[in-house]
Symmetry: C2
């Protein structure tokens, strides 16, 4: 057995490149009491991780230079020194980008591979689903008949949001970056109207797609796409700021349409959030999401790249809009297979 890890080689200036990452050979660590040695099966790459690569204040601490990158993962227990886990268990938690890691048992959650594919723990039954759930249901509370616009609609969070809004009986308008993605949204997820922001004039297309204005906007992208949506908001609109992928690689704060006058004349609310704000309510949401998944009301898409060494490339692909649904890296087979 050999171990490898991927560290932050340098901080990105603007758009990250493969040069910002470095792969290293390392020892396989030994678990202490209360710890577990795990073998990584899947790693999640997510846009928010770009923020941790800067050395500045954000909602979580920056990654340190020359230290391992940390993100969501699914792993198999190799050796346990905690009574709650044993070898062969499949677990999820925040893991280093490593083949083998030692984790505190208290920071891992066991998952049942019989209930759903283990990768759902990183997606629709994990951070992705929870983010969609609280960002839409809690902040926006969409009502039947309202118009809900989702940017980044074909990303993992976005497509879950689209479906939750459909479950609520809303008219859903999804904005994504390719006709292939939009076909998926329309044909598989029953999104009412889609807009391809790369080929259409977003302002005109949105105005046509939202004849009754916009009641709810779930914002994954920011920038000019958001400006176009904000110009159409209705009285009492709710705007959930989930991500600003168009901003993450900018070296300074962006300048654009000031939304304050539009919020004022429409008595509208705009709220940013991060998932950990809702930690006390995760169980409630997972129960609800699992039920919809079992009933077939909630679908998910995954884009899986094979090979640990391709993890940085999978991450970079997020910013090129390559992924339909959740972007994962398959690092290893589990031992059942």
């Amino acid at each position: 057995m050999q171990n490898k890890q991927i560290v932050l080689n340098s901080r990105p200036a603007g758009m990250p490149t493969t040069e910002n990452f470095r792969i290293e050979d390392v020892e396989i660590p030994q678990p202490k009491d209360g710890e577990v040695l795990v073998r990584t099966l899947y790693l999640s790459v997510d846009p928010y991780m770009r923020g941790r690569m800067n050395d500045r204040k954000s909602y979580i601490a920056p990654f340190a230079l020359n230290e391992v990158i940390v993100g969501g993962g699914v792993a198999e227990v190799v050796e346990s020194r905690d009574e709650n886990f044993r070898a062969g268990d499949i677990v999820t938690g925040m893991l280093g980008w490593r083949l083998y890691s030692v984790a505190k048992a208290s920071e891992l959650r066991k998952i049942d591979p019989k209930l759903a594919p283990v990768t759902t723990a990183l997606g629709v039954l994990g951070v992705t689903g929870l983010t969609a759930y609280f960002g839409l249901i809690d902040i926006c509370n969409p009502q039947a008949g309202e118009t809900v616009v989702v940017s980044g609609a074909a990303g993992a969070v976005g497509m879950t949001v689209c479906q939750l809004a459909k479950i609520r009986g809303c008219r859903v308008v999804g904005i994504a970056g390719s006709d292939e993605k939009n076909s998926y949204l329309t044909n598989e997820l029953n999104v009412d109207t889609t807009i391809n922001y790369k080929t259409e004039k977003v302002r005109e297309a949105l105005a046509a797609a939202c004849p009754n204005g916009v009641d709810v906007y779930f914002d994954n992208v920011g920038g000019e796409i958001s400006d176009a949506v904000l110009l159409l908001i209705n009285k009492g609109a709710r705007i959930s700021i989930c991500g600003q992928i168009s901003m993450y690689n900018l070296e300074r704060l962006d300048v654009g349409l000031r939304p304050q006058p539009l919020l004022l004349i429409n008595s509208a609310t705009m709220k940013g959030f991060i998932l950990t704000d809702y930690a006390p309510r995760f169980a409630e949401a997972i129960t609800q999401l699992s039920k919809w998944l079992a009933e077939g009301k909630l679908k998910y898409a995954e884009n899986i790249i094979e090979g640990f060494e391709n993890t940085p490339r999978a991450f970079l692909g997020l910013f090129a809009g390559e992924n339909l649904g959740k972007q994962l890296v398959k690092v290893a087979e589990d031992s059942r297979q």
Copy 2:
């Protein structure tokens, strides 16, 4: 008795001028059943009225060209054809800019001149006080020890907000446009720190004034002052968008710092509102404000210009930052005097 009215002569392009208004001689109207003829005593001029002078969508319908301007007023009943009012009563409501008006009785509220000066019905016990109350208490819910920043702090709403935040036990930082105004805020209203945005570098002065960041921002002005405040917000900050006086005279939507990334990383909320959103709760707020006023916890300032024909000039002065506190026009003495 002779009647006069002031109508919208032309729509302002950018900053309004006296040319946008026209004074006319008109007949004194006759009240029908359920109506009341009143003689105007005071007129309120307010920044939001600028929005109604544009011919575009906002939270209330635009004023019509060549029609009388309508705003808050205090008047004395001359002749009543409604059982709830009689000659000599002092009333408040939305009145035309006229010496004599006919109003529906159902749209007037009787005020008791013995409880407080009648002008308070247009200020601290009227639209001004209600706006401050709901915009601060309901949207921001400030907690003892938090830092509250108020822009337009020496305006009628702003100075009430400052005092409500002090009643809540907050540290209050007021931003206004003259040292005279700031002295009033500090010496009369116990505001903790003030910033003169015309003579100080707002970003540096704010950073110095808010060593623990900003928890609540009550925004009357928008623009670059707001940008400076937003750069300092804390996790969980609440931002009440009450007014955007820096925007009202712009001919297109303004461009500047996009707040979305800052709301995201701080899980912060920004909400626009207009007072009518809270109409069902006005009585609750007036009761509370009257109590604080009686206890001496709430002070108010008025800037009263004499003479009906000076109403447009009083309105224009709002945008030059001339007024300390509530800007009113005294049209006539009441008949008790």
